[in-house]
């Protein structure tokens, strides 16, 4: 995760983990569903650089599915 391109590609994993993993505590999750959509929109904005990764075959259908979720 040292170079920018690596970070862009790793963002899918980061979002899955930060928003879907970790200890759930009995407090308020400040994040509303709409915010999550915004993150995916932000992710979509980064997809241009991910396109390079796709050319290299780094992204498969599964990641594309994750990216397509941003379009919802």
């Amino acid at each position: 995760m040292s170079t920018l391109a690596d970070r862009d590609v790793a963002l899918v994993d980061l979002i899955d983990r930060l928003l879907g993993g970790g200890v759930v505590i009995a407090g308020d999750i400040t994040l509303a569903a709409a915010d999550v959509d915004l993150v995916y929109v932000g992710l979509r904005a980064l997809v241009t650089s991910v396109a390079t990764a796709e050319e290299k075959g780094l992204l498969g259908p599964l990641q594309k599915t994750a990216l397509e979720r941003s379009a919802l």
């Binding site: 308020d28 932000g42 980064l46």
Partner: protein, 189 residues
């Protein structure tokens, strides 16, 4: 209102902008809640804080956006869930999470799809998952072709080498391995 970043064994790590609340041998690493709008940069900032913390100690990451009313609430949380959190910290001691995504070029397009091809890919995914699980303390399949592995720090290099070997042996599949992450996928038994 405070935001909880991570749970560690007491004494918690010291880091700028963060304070720790201790109770019963555990520490909650907290900050005052930020009004930061969520964005990719904001998520990476959070991850960088956790990266720095996990260099020095074992931790359980807390789900992003988790807030509590005050320090007292954090103390009560540690008290009420001490057994569960202590057990989870013991499980992840000295280990990190590595994420592996494998995708076949054959699936995802081609209309209804070829069932036999799908099954073959699925079988190979299972075999690879097993080969990687052998080097991990625990593993979880999060979705088909998307797995998380709890790997001892000492085994990270061997694990990444095995991913590379699998990639070389399976040229028709694409691989993506990211990490080390804090053990996001291994906070529950």
């Amino acid at each position: 209102v405070i935001e909880v970043y991570a749970i560690t064994k007491a004494p918690g790590p010291r880091a700028p902008g963060l304070h720790t609340i201790e109770n019963g041998g555990l520490a909650a690493v907290c900050s005052s809640a930020s009004e930061q709008e969520i964005s990719a940069d904001e998520l990476w900032r959070r991850q960088e804080v956790l990266d720095a913390l996990m260099r020095d100690c074992d931790l359980l990451p807390v789900r992003y956006g988790s807030t509590l009313d005050d320090d007292g609430a954090a103390e009560r949380l540690l008290e009420e869930r001490r057994d569960e959190l202590t057990e989870a910290l013991d499980r992840v001691r000295g280990a990190v999470e590595l994420a592996v995504r494998v995708a076949g070029d054959g699936d995802g397009h081609g209309g209804a799809g070829d069932g036999a091809v799908y099954m073959r890919v699925k079988t190979r995914l299972l075999e690879m998952h097993k080969a990687l699980s052998d080097l991990a303390r625990e593993s979880r399949e999060l979705a088909p072709g998307r797995s998380a592995y709890l790997v001892s720090r000492a085994d990270i290099v061997a694990f990444v080498a095995r991913v590379a070997a699998l990639e070389e042996a399976n040229e028709d599949l694409s691989f993506l391995c990211t990490g080390p992450w804090p053990p996001y996928s291994f906070v529950t038994p």
